[in-house]
Subunit: 201 residues, 2 copies
DNA sequence: GCCAATAATGAACATTGTTCAATAAAAATC
DNA sequence: GATTTTTATTGAACAATGTTCATTATTGGC
């Protein structure tokens, strides 16, 4: 009835995503363009718009896979039940991930496109999954268990830590403090834990 | 000997910067282009490249003026000597600034250009000036006055707050929490102050 | 009045993401 | 086997970006 496709839509998406990830890892997010992805997978530019809604859609899918990767890396950290220790271990794993995949991680927070619409639900869920790990680590701090406050505390701490990572990623942390990112992150977590009982309303 | 200039280079820069600020305030950073600035001041595109090194140079100069504006706004906050109160007042002033100049503030943290080089010294100094205000507010926390620890605490809090506004700038804060940036910043400062005595080694 | 110096222009270029008529190829039909 | 139909695939074209630079306009000095 019709011409046979070289790859299914899903196969095409997978090809494109892998190609995109390679470009990002090798040369950074800035070098990612539709033409380069298309050339790398041996298809034309127009074909990409058959597999993805637009360039932003492709980016969002790469980001989602980055979050999956991160979630997997943080999930292997074993818990002792002592918040301070577990938190340190989690931070260590996070730092290792950033070091291993700097461009992928940077890309998560860079806004190359003017699209200001909030991400779709399937993306937000992946973000939430990562948060949950931090929440679970902080939960034992609250007795009796108060999930509401644990959530709030976890997200606030994560935001603070994001300040560390984002500065470190742009090599701007050195302007603020001579200490390495890992040490600063640990201080942040510790100061935060110390203030937990009184600080989080 | 030569043709007379309608405006000096400095006058041209001032004209362009004001025009750029108007465009940003009215329609947002995304709508700022060299052609629109040129059209607005009645000059050609090429003339802008006579007054500025490139588009990034123009952006950096607008940002510097935003920082001056911010520093001025925060400088008028009067101190009581009580860190908790002064900190709240500072954050309040900061919030008011953001509300008054949302697009200018957003622009400070958005990275529209691929330029990854670190900003020049004259720009970093303006960042440092704003940062100093926070340091001075936190200093009274430590008795007897320990400038070393005050600096450390101020920088750590500054890093945490940077996490808040850098996420807010990229419209990513909503992914983490539904609360507005101002409320999150206040929580951050409060949690941090509460943990100060024990947390900062 | 001409020359030289320089202010000012704007067309041209290389890049983006995006679109869509044209084309190629294979299955279905006769 | 020839024809038709269907659709996978292409790539030229478009609009918009920052950037450059040969060209043009203007004006003071001789």
């Amino acid at each position: 009835m019709a011409r046979q496709a070289r790859h299914s839509r899903d196969e095409l998406r997978e090809l494109a995503l892998v190609a995109a990830e390679d470009i990002i890892a090798e040369e950074g997010f800035e070098q990612l363009t539709v033409r380069r992805v298309a050339g790398r997978i041996g298809y034309s530019v127009g074909m990409l718009y058959n597999a993805f809604e637009n360039f932003e859609d492709l980016i969002l899918n790469v980001d989602a896979r980055t979050l999956d990767l991160l979630h997997g890396a943080l999930g292997t950290v074993e818990r002792t039940g002592v918040p301070a220790e577990d938190l340190d271990a989690l931070l260590e794993a996070y730092l290792q991930f950033i070091t291993a995949h700097p461009n992928r991680w940077l890309m998560l927070f860079s806004e190359r496109l003017p699209g200001v619409a909030s991400p779709p639900d399937w993306y937000l869920e992946r973000v939430a999954r990562v948060f949950t790990l931090l929440e679970e680590t902080l939960a034992p701090c609250f007795v009796p268990a108060d999930p509401q406050r644990a959530r709030r505390a976890a997200r606030l701490l994560w935001i603070g830590l994001h300040g560390v990572w984002s500065l470190a990623a742009g090599d701007k942390l050195a302007i603020v403090t001579p200490e390495p990112a890992g040490a600063v992150a640990r201080q942040m977590a510790r100061a935060f834990l110390a203030g937990l009982p009184a600080g989080i309303a």
